[in-house]
Subunit: 125 residues, 2 copies
DNA sequence: CTAAAACCTGACGTTGACGTCAGGGTCAAG
DNA sequence: CTTGACCCTGACGTCAACGTCAGGTTTTAG
């Protein structure tokens, strides 16, 4: 009830965002440089983030882990925030999805090969 | 029947291996440099490979795609060829298998997130 | 008030799997 | 015989997501 204008102050500094997301401070600055993240500045110039910043950074990590580049993620963000996509964005989304699917299949195939090796060599200690 | 000593001559040059495996000639030379591949040499110094070399290179590609390094693959090869492993090798094999499994899960999670975005934005053209 | 902890801006370093260029042999075909 | 197509050995270039160091300001704990 008392939270309409009062908690706009609930801002955190970069170190907390980094710890929250499990990445380095350097990484968070890098994301800003890549246009993935923006920050207010304190009078002395320190970055101030809303508390959701940590979750946002974890999302970046998830996308990076899936093989998306900073550029891809940057293109992805407006789609999420606006809920709207143009033709080019839809094409990108589908291409990335297909790429990830293919990669999962590749990984599964590689996993099977490794398991073969493990099984065969398990009987010959 | 006539193939006991006669087809040791069935050797191919690097370009054919590369085409066969779908990689660059440079890549094949790189694999040799990493100790993954050995080649005979013609009198003039050209590399000569047995015809299975293409399949071998495709195997490398599969492992690279799974995130193994040249070093990992190099450690893997003797396990395959000898069918024997020591403790360190078994540890590596298990570690890599677990890593790949975890990566598949990560990719699946990322895929789900992407699909969410695609589904949401599909209704808002 | 002071020292440690955290932040700032550059800017160069790292890593791996190649790409690419330089400069030069080799080999079947016409 | 010469023109391509293919091969050779270095050796420097690339790209992305940070790591790391330098040199300096700010915030916090005591």
């Amino acid at each position: 009830m008392s939270a309409t204008t009062a908690d706009a102050e609930r801002l955190v500094r970069i170190g907390e965002v980094a710890r929250d997301a499990g990445v380095s401070v350097r990484a968070v600055r890098y994301y800003e440089q890549q246009g993935l993240l923006t920050a207010e500045r304190s009078p002395s110039g320190q970055r101030l983030y809303p508390r959701e910043a940590g979750a946002r950074v974890r999302f970046f990590q998830q996308m990076y882990a899936a093989g998306l580049s900073s550029r891809n993620i940057a293109e992805l963000l407006p789609c999420i925030e606006s809920g709207h996509t143009d033709a080019e964005q839809r094409a990108m989304l589908h291409a990335e999805r297909d790429r990830i699917r293919a990669k999962i299949d590749d990984l599964q195939a590689a996993l099977d090969r490794l398991d073969e090796v493990i099984e065969v060599t398990a009987s010959h200690p």
